[in-house]
């Protein structure tokens, strides 16, 4: 009888929209975790895009769709196609920002996307460099303990030529800070962003 109740309970529970959302998100996050090919990131991006469209009040699906599109773009080789993925990511992160204003995670990712968009044509898009630092600056003001800000900032500096104030030496202390912040970071819920710890370590290792 107990199990019957449990079953009824579970299935009705599963019908509530919040739980459907949670299960749906966890499914997407699992795929995202496993993804390491552009096609896999694209599939995940498309999945989160569908969730975002069905859950028009939730910022997380738009956020992860943006992240997965950014990853798809990063792995591309044709600048024109990469730019389209970055554009889509930017559009989705703006959508997330509209749903949850003043969110440190959203602004950090926005700074990442803006920097990558700049890198497609640095000469013509120099202004995006300043926009990227502005987004990261806001993200930091909102939550200085968000380790992704330091990862993205460090990464931006890592890939910026020394002439423009970048380079490995300058990136190193920021990435060290990122690794330290990752070590103590606890996400508020299962669904909140946790990505980046490995990336920070890898980049830091390259600084030595």
């Amino acid at each position: 009888m107990l199990s019957f109740l449990l079953l009824i309970n579970l299935s009705s529970y599963a019908q509530t929209s919040t739980d459907k959302f949670k299960i749906g998100m966890l499914k997407g996050l699992e795929e995202l975790q496993k993804a390491n090919q552009p096609d896999e990131f694209l599939k995940t991006a498309n999945y989160f895009e569908r969730v975002a469209q069905a859950e028009s009040k939730q910022w997380l699906p738009a956020y992860y769709a943006a992240y997965a599109n950014l990853m798809t773009g990063l792995m591309g080789s044709d600048k024109k196609v990469q730019d389209q993925y970055f554009d889509k990511a930017l559009q989705q992160i703006v959508q997330a920002d509209a749903l949850a204003a003043n969110n440190s995670e959203i602004l950090a990712l926005k700074g990442y996307i803006q920097f990558m968009k700049m890198s497609i044509d640095p000469q013509a898009r120099l202004s995006l460099m300043a926009e990227s630092s502005a987004s990261l600056g806001k993200a930091k003001a909102l939550n200085p303990d968000n380790p992704r800000i330091y990862l993205i900032n460090g990464q931006n500096i890592f890939y910026t030529p020394e002439a423009f104030g970048g380079g490995k030496a300058k990136a190193k202390p920021i990435l060290e800070n990122a690794v330290a912040k990752f070590a103590i970071f606890k996400a508020a819920t299962d669904l909140d962003p946790i990505w980046g710890a490995e990336r920070a370590k890898t980049l830091l290792a390259q600084c030595k």
Partner: protein, 702 residues
């Protein structure tokens, strides 16, 4: 009981598992090619999938009943169909229509040089101008590397497709700039007054331009000012010719910039020998303010105001006085104000309004005579644009100019005043995303000329596949005769008709275009036995080839342009139809830029060639039949990026005509034809070195 429960729950699971519909099929383009990586979704559910490389898809959904299946893919229009889900497999074969993509869409481009940065085509950004060797960050000098222009160094302005410099007009945010050049000595070109760094893009049209630009027979140089700066910064420049400082202050929705500069060419003229003997080397003091206010999400208000004062005095050579140079001095002051406002009203309307004022004053001594000259222009303009359909729009506007000149020689004054009013209307009609038609017209009335003109303009663009496009343009253009004639007497409008045919192909990061044109001139101002009339005429025809490549060489881009020009005209004091002295038959330019990462340095080179120009030799039987030798110039530039005192700094070096070609622009003959003097550049070689520092940001800000 337990067994029953298990059975129940199992059947429930089976039931749930059964309540699934498989949807599969193939997604293609309208042409039938498979469409990979598209996103399929059942609206308002999480269910859907991504198409594979063959456009195939298959997924299951637990939804039932009537639903909408959506398809979306890059470069294709999102579309959907209704499907009924009732536990039986559904096969859907669907195709998507190509999206109207900015880059893939046909555009109005005949006459415009689009360098592949989108449809609107900022030809040269401020950085492009600053890094073009030989241009020294001067907008006009950089444009001389573009097809259709002549390499001019002894007269101000852009000479486009057989037109005089006065036939090219400069527009700052849509407003006509009356005096875009600095004061100069005769036979020497000077820099433009407006800093390249004010503008996010300069687009340059060598013909067939929009009805909103009037009073230009040959060419329009369209300058679009930058929007709000990102940050509060200070820019300092230290050059061998002077120094400048700019302070940018960024507020939440507005920004204020104040800047000042002082240039004095005396030190450099000590080092680089000048052709003329300067009594006072050019010295200039100037200041400007720029205020920009983002009035709403889509509204922008801008004011730019600038003042400058220049002094120079020189003994220049003259063929009539081979033993004694002729004295010339000039004090110039220039005031320029430009204010514009633009706002979108909903999604369909845009309103733009502008006001500008320009006053340019010269005074000095020519040989032994006192002269003064004052030009002024006030302009008001309003434009309304309505967007309709997916891409089409129509715009209509009106503008009025109050302009004139007042000049004197030894206290004898003369002047003229004109109120020129104009109305224009124009529509860009996209019949399909591959075919665009522009229809427009412009009407003007001048109070001084007491006459109307009506100028139809039309353009057509056809996408011929991929990134290739064919364009055709026809337009009629009018302008008032130059001030130096109008101040003498009332005349009629000068007129030109342009016919342009262009083919272009813009693959990724590359651009190729070839453009042919024919221009017919009428009513040009002519001087016949000391009297002026509008009986002048002429033609110009030719073609130009342009190739730009940012892809083939890593960290480098280059472009090559070639122009062929065949032109003859009878105007000014020409006794017969002839090729004017500013028209070289062949002109070619190659510009190369390379960023060397390891040295943090950008290097660049510009090579220019022009075949010999005609000059008037009174001893020849045929007017303007003599030709100078060919013109050659190789210029090099270097920009090294570094930090000084922790601030981002650019070390800049530019050397013009490094190989020291002896260039001759033409000859001036004495009245009796016995003596002649070669018109040559101010100095054979030129070198400028500078430090440009930005405080408060890691990027170069000006």
């Amino acid at each position: 009981m337990k067994a029953l429960l298990i059975t129940l729950s199992l059947s429930l699971i089976i039931l749930l598992a059964h309540a699934q519909t498989t949807i599969s099929g193939i997604l293609t383009t309208k042409k039938g090619n498979p469409l990979a990586k598209a996103n399929l979704s059942i609206k308002n559910s999480y269910d859907g999938t991504t198409t594979d490389n063959n456009g195939r898809f298959s997924f299951t959904t637990t939804e039932t009943g009537n639903h909408i299946l959506q398809f979306s893919a890059f470069n294709y229009e999102t579309d959907s169909i209704r499907i009924e889900l009732k536990n039986t497999p559904v096969t859907v074969n669907f195709s998507l229509k190509e999206a109207v993509n900015e880059l893939e869409t046909v555009g109005i481009s005949a006459g415009y040089i689009i360098a592949g940065d989108g449809k609107k085509g900022a030809v040269l950004t401020s950085l492009d101008i600053a890094t073009t060797a030989g241009a020294n960050a001067d907008i006009f000098a950089a444009q001389q590397t573009m097809p259709g222009t002549q390499a001019a160094f002894s007269e101000n302005g852009l000479f486009v497709r057989g037109g005089t410099a006065a036939e090219t007009k400069t527009y700052f945010d849509g407003m006509l700039v009356k005096s875009p050049f600095n004061a100069t000595v005769p036979d020497q070109a000077s820099r433009g007054r407006l800093s390249a760094f004010l503008f996010k893009g300069t687009s340059f049209s060598s013909g067939g331009y929009s009805a909103q630009y009037g009073q230009a027979l040959s060419s329009a140089l369209i300058l679009e000012s930058k929007d709000l700066p990102e940050k509060t910064t200070t820019g300092i420049s230290l050059l061998t010719v002077g120094t400048g400082i700019d302070q940018n202050i960024r507020f939440k929705n507005s920004a204020f910039t104040i800047g000042g500069y002082y240039y004095n060419l005396k030190p450099i003229y000590h080092i680089i020998k000048q052709e003329n003997e300067y009594v006072k080397a050019p010295e200039q003091l100037g200041a400007n303010i720029h205020y920009k206010w983002k009035t709403s999400a889509s509204g922008m208000f801008k004011v730019y105001a600038a003042y400058s004062a220049t002094k120079l005095a020189v003994f220049r050579k003259d063929a009539d006085h081979p033993d004694s140079a002729v004295y010339f001095s000039n004090h110039n002051s220039n005031v320029y104000i430009n204010s514009t406002y633009k706002e979108y009203l909903g999604n369909q309307w845009k309103i733009e309004a502008g006001f500008s004022y320009n006053r340019d004053k010269d005074q000095g001594i020519l040989t032994a005579d006192d002269y003064t000259r004052q030009d002024h222009l006030s302009q008001g303009k309003i434009t309304l644009t309505n967007y309709f359909g997916r891409l089409s729009d129509w715009k209509t506007g009106a503008e009025t100019f109050n302009t004139g000149r007042r000049e004197s020689l030894n206290g004898q004054y003369r002047s003229y005043q004109d109120q020129l009013s104009a109305a224009f209307a124009e529509s860009d009609l996209f019949l399909t995303s591959k075919l665009v038609l522009r229809l427009g017209g412009r009407a003007e009335y001048s109070s001084y000329l007491a006459n109307y003109n009506l100028a139809p303009r039309t353009s057509i663009g056809i996408k011929t596949g991929g990134t290739a496009q064919v364009s055709f343009a026809y337009g009629r253009f009018f302008q008032n005769p130059e001030d130096e004639y109008l101040v003498l007497q009332k005349l009629n409008y000068e007129r030109a008709d342009h016919y342009i045919l262009k083919y272009e192909i813009n693959p990724n990061e590359r651009n190729f275009r070839i453009e042919g044109y024919y221009k017919n001139y009428r009513q040009l101002t002519r001087e016949e036995s000391g009297k002026l009339n509008n009986s002048g005429s002429g033609y110009a025809k030719g073609f130009e080839v342009f190739w730009k490549d940012k892809k083939s060489i890593r960290n480098a881009d280059y472009y090559i342009s070639y122009s062929f020009l065949d032109t003859r005209r009878i105007f000014r004091d020409f006794p017969v139809m002839a090729t004017p002295s500013f028209a070289a038959k062949h002109t070619a330019t190659a510009v190369y830029k390379h960023f060397i990462n390891s040295l943090q340095t950008q290097v660049g080179g510009t090579y220019s060639f022009a075949s010999g120009r005609p000059y008037v030799n009174p001893n020849s039987t045929i007017y303007l039949s003599d030709r100078t030798k060919n013109y050659n110039s190789l210029s090099l530039t270097l920009s090294h990026l570094t930090h000084i005192l922790g601030q981002f700094t650019v070390l800049y070096v530019n050397a013009n005509n490094v190989t020291g070609f002896q260039n001759i622009y033409g000859y001036q003959y004495s009245s009796d034809g016995m003596n002649r003097r070669a018109i040559v550049p101010g100095a054979k070689r030129d070198l400028i070195v500078g430090l440009l520092m930005t405080i408060g940001d890691n990027t170069f800000v000006r």
